[in-house]
Symmetry: C2
Subunit: 148 residues, 2 copies
């Protein structure tokens, strides 16, 4: 069963996120620095984390006040299951736990960005009620980004 992480889990979360970035060759800070940042953000209340059964995966939520309502809005910043435990049904309960967590923290919507290539994750998001279309039968929604 997935669980909601506490600040005491920051080292474990940082290790999982570091492994995630290393798997995809993405740059990252040292694990200790990432753990310190996580502690800071979790304590400030703008970041909440769910851990999969056996700590074999992690979901990171960022929260902020929603401009368009009096609630908060959530952003699913990271979703990761360790490589040798994929395809075994850990992702869905982890994601559902994260959605419940976002709801319990006052969010009324959740958004995420994912790559066209990430077919397994996209299937999971679609099974869990996410859409990449703007409205029924509407156009696709793209993420655009740049460094500053």
């Amino acid at each position: 069963v997935p669980r909601t992480a506490s600040v005491d889990d920051a080292d474990l979360i940082a290790r999982l996120l570091a492994d995630f970035n290393d798997e995809y060759g993405d740059p990252r800070p040292p694990v200790e620095q990432l753990a310190a940042r996580l502690r800071e953000l979790m304590e400030a209340g703008d970041t909440a984390v769910a851990l999969a059964d056996g700590d074999l995966g992690v979901a990171v939520l960022r929260l902020r006040p929603n401009l368009w309502s009096t609630a908060r809005e959530a952003y699913l910043a990271e979703l990761y299951v360790v490589p040798d435990r994929r395809g075994q049904g850990l992702g869905r309960p982890l994601l559902e736990h994260a959605l419940d967590l976002a709801r319990s923290l006052g969010a009324d919507r959740v958004e995420l960005g994912t790559s066209e290539d990430d077919v397994a994750a996209r299937k999971l998001y679609e099974k869990c009620g996410f859409t990449r279309f703007e409205g029924e039968g509407g156009p696709l929604m793209f993420v655009y980004e740049r460094e500053l």
Copy 2:
């Protein structure tokens, strides 16, 4: 020349954003409620706004600490130019002012979500250095969202 809005501009910003949503038939709170929310978020420092020359457009930035660096990250939540002044070159300086503003507020990256249909905005983002691809020649990045 675009300018950085202050909290005193909240009513004007709310009016522009309300017009934006009305143009696309998107639901929105009453203008007074939106203005109050803007004041609250701008005072809290998580929201910054740029206004186009003559107040004919608006760009709304949301800011938060970047998990992956010691900087902040920015999200361009809204970009709007009034209908009868589109195609007259107001968008680019407005967007560039918003990027400078994000930088001056400590952000090291900026992200946004936009629809496939919004061809003029997408061209502007691409001219201003944004990409919708993950890495050079990489896959597209999609926004997924759901209500909670």
